[in-house]
């Protein structure tokens, strides 16, 4: 069984934000919610680096560990998803997540934030696969259709890789060997532990 992972190759990301647009377009994400975003380190300085960040679907997800209503579950191939019917919008997951992935659609009186929304690896949620209800609540379910996340498939420079962790690691390893640099698997250690794959 595959273990799905994201990896952003900082040497290739050109900060075009196509992944952000693809995600918003594919999942009809509301205004104010960004399931994915591009972060530029040392912006404007020589050697600046950009990385595309979203939920990394951690091996031992801290969001799931702190959730008071236990609305998170991990699929057999490692995708961390949640049930919006259970979510109470407390925001604990937002504080726990090292990547700032959980998003909240509302900001109204008394701190009401609405149900948490985050990247689903384009795998929908706990509703009937590819149903209207699933699409409205969680977005597209491309995985059930045999497709990979839209953000990674849309990436023009193939900086953003999404798929089986072993295959992702293989491709990245080859790239690093070709360009004879040091591997910069940004976020991997935090999300998936000490090992590369």
């Amino acid at each position: 069984m595959a273990r799905m992972k994201f990896l952003c190759d900082a040497e290739r990301c050109i900060e075009c934000n196509a992944c952000v647009t693809a995600c918003k377009n594919e999942n009809e994400v509301p205004w104010g919610v960004n399931r994915r975003r591009v972060i530029t380190l040392n912006d404007g300085e020589p050697g600046e680096k950009s990385i595309s960040v979203a939920c990394m679907h951690c091996t031992d997800a801290p969001c799931a560990a702190v959730c008071p209503v236990d609305c998170f579950y991990t699929t057999t191939d490692g995708l961390v998803l949640h049930d919006k019917d259970l979510c109470i919008g407390c925001g604990y997951c937002f504080y726990a997540c090292p990547f700032g992935a959980p998003q909240f659609p509302e900001e109204t009186a008394f701190g009401v934030r609405g149900k948490m929304d985050k990247c689903t690896f384009c795998a929908g949620g706990p509703l009937e696969d590819n149903s209207n209800a699933e699409y409205e609540k969680y977005g597209a379910n491309r995985i059930a259709q045999g497709k990979l996340p839209a953000c990674a498939e849309m990436c023009a420079t193939k900086a953003l890789l999404a798929g089986d962790g072993d295959l992702v690691a293989d491709i990245y390893r080859k790239r690093v060997m070709q360009r004879s640099g040091r591997p910069q698997t940004w976020g991997w250690q935090k999300a998936y532990g000490a090992g590369v794959s």
Partner: protein, 65 residues
């Protein structure tokens, strides 16, 4: 006579109080265990064919041409 009245009253009071008793069966939840509905995708991901399809798609989409 009075004694019988007191006894009857006590019996009625006991029956009344007994009727108010409710058996409490609290729902015990295991912390850290997912409480939501099941995702049908979970079963699909065990499908070898889908796994192969995703791997093939990754190879096509992510490798340099």
């Amino acid at each position: 006579m009075r004694r019988y009245c007191v006894l009857a009253l006590a019996a009625v009071a006991a029956a009344g109080l007994g009727g108010c008793y409710e058996t409490a069966t609290p729902k015990m939840y295991e912390p850290g265990v997912y409480k939501g509905s099941q995702d049908s995708l979970g079963n699909k991901l065990d499908n070898e064919e889908l796994d192969q399809q995703l791997s093939e798609r990754f190879r096509t989409a992510a490798q340099d041409r």
